[in-house]
């Protein structure tokens, strides 16, 4: 993997919300115009900072959902129960509002077309967001690196980017498979359980293809899936993980 350029400390950028899209009931995509944005690599994230009128500040990290595109940065935010920041970003934020963000952050959980493949993407819930940036970058670059996505969601209603993933899967170099862990829709013929070794044996690249593997989602899923890939014989050095979870903390 190419080295990361040495850069100074990150500056907060006042960014304007230019577009808001509801993805699912509690997930929203926010497009931001970030003056001076240096560009980013798929898989990287930003820190977002909110300041209340009384000066109280809260900060969280969100993966960048978009492929690099000038000064535009897109985030997809899931509203967490009791989420201090996510409730604002996924619920109240409006076009024209300003938020502060800094980035891009990350040098380990990144992929770009020059990294090569084949690539295996394994997502749980909102863990699909940084992997979507990788799929979008692949398309924007007209890359022919083969990519497979296995995406676990609690219900079909909760699948983020449903239609776009359908369209991406029509590309011969991309395969998207879903598994639903809760109630499956009528007529569902896809996987209907948590990701396990048998599912990965069927849906992931064979070991001899030496895929680069990116796993992102809740800690339990990430650890189970990456462990299963190692048990199947995949090289642990070619598996990269990013665990998602609340960082707000309780007193």
């Amino acid at each position: 993997m190419a080295g990361t350029a040495v850069r100074g400390r990150l500056n907060w950028i006042g960014s304007e919300v230019t577009e808001v899209t509801q993805e699912t009931e509690n997930v929203r995509t926010i497009t931001l115009d970030c003056p001076g944005w240096p560009g980013h690599r798929p898989g990287q994230h930003v820190d977002v900072r909110l300041t209340a009128p009384d000066g109280y500040q809260a900060q969280r990290s969100y993966s960048i959902a978009s492929a690099p595109a000038g000064e535009q940065v897109t985030l997809t935010v899931e509203q967490l129960e009791d989420g201090e920041v996510s409730t604002y970003l996924a619920g109240e934020l409006r076009v024209g509002d300003m938020i502060e963000l800094r980035g891009p952050i990350g040098g380990y959980f990144v992929w770009e077309p020059s990294t090569g493949g084949p690539v295996m993407l394994i997502a749980g819930g909102s863990g699909v967001v940084p992997l979507m940036a990788m799929l979008r970058a692949r398309k924007a670059a007209a890359s022919d690196v083969p990519m497979r996505l296995l995406y676990s969601s609690r219900s079909w209603d909760r699948v983020i980017y449903r239609d776009e993933l359908d369209a991406l899967g029509a590309d011969p170099g991309v395969a998207v498979r879903h598994t639903i862990t809760g109630a499956a829709p009528p007529g569902w013929s896809g996987y209907a359980r948590r990701i396990d070794r048998d599912m990965l044996a069927e849906s992931a690249w064979p070991v001899d293809r030496r895929p680069l593997v990116y796993v992102c989602g809740p800690t339990g899923l990430v650890e189970a899936a990456s462990q299963a890939m190692v048990e199947l014989g995949h090289d642990p050095m070619r598996i990269r993980t990013e665990r998602f979870g609340p960082t707000g903390g309780t007193p």
């Binding site: 850069r7 952050i105 990350g106 040098g107 380990y108």
Partner: protein
């Protein structure tokens, strides 16, 4: 109340840049307890106020402790060897 699950070094990416002045998640660190080499993004992270702990994913040894104080970050390097650390 159950304790929140751990995350990983990616979640401390911004903090690590604050402390070390550049991207650290792809820096390789060696665990001095078990000898395993992992990139910082792969380290197990316990995010807590006011202190964060990074542990070796192979043997759970404490590698780095980061305490957030009003005057800045107080960093303790434990069983870790890494360039620039």
């Amino acid at each position: 109340m159950t304790a929140p699950l751990h995350l990983d070094g990616n979640a401390l990416g911004g903090v690590l840049i604050d402390i070390f002045g550049h991207e650290m998640t792809d820096t390789e660190g060696t665990c001095l307890d078990c000898g395993a080499v992992h990139q910082f993004g792969a380290l197990i992270a316990y995010i807590a106020a006011p202190g964060h702990v990074l542990r070796c994913p192979s043997c759970s040894a404490v590698l780095l402790v980061i305490v957030v104080e009003p005057d800045g970050y107080h960093v303790t390097v434990e069983s870790l060897q890494a360039p620039g650390v």
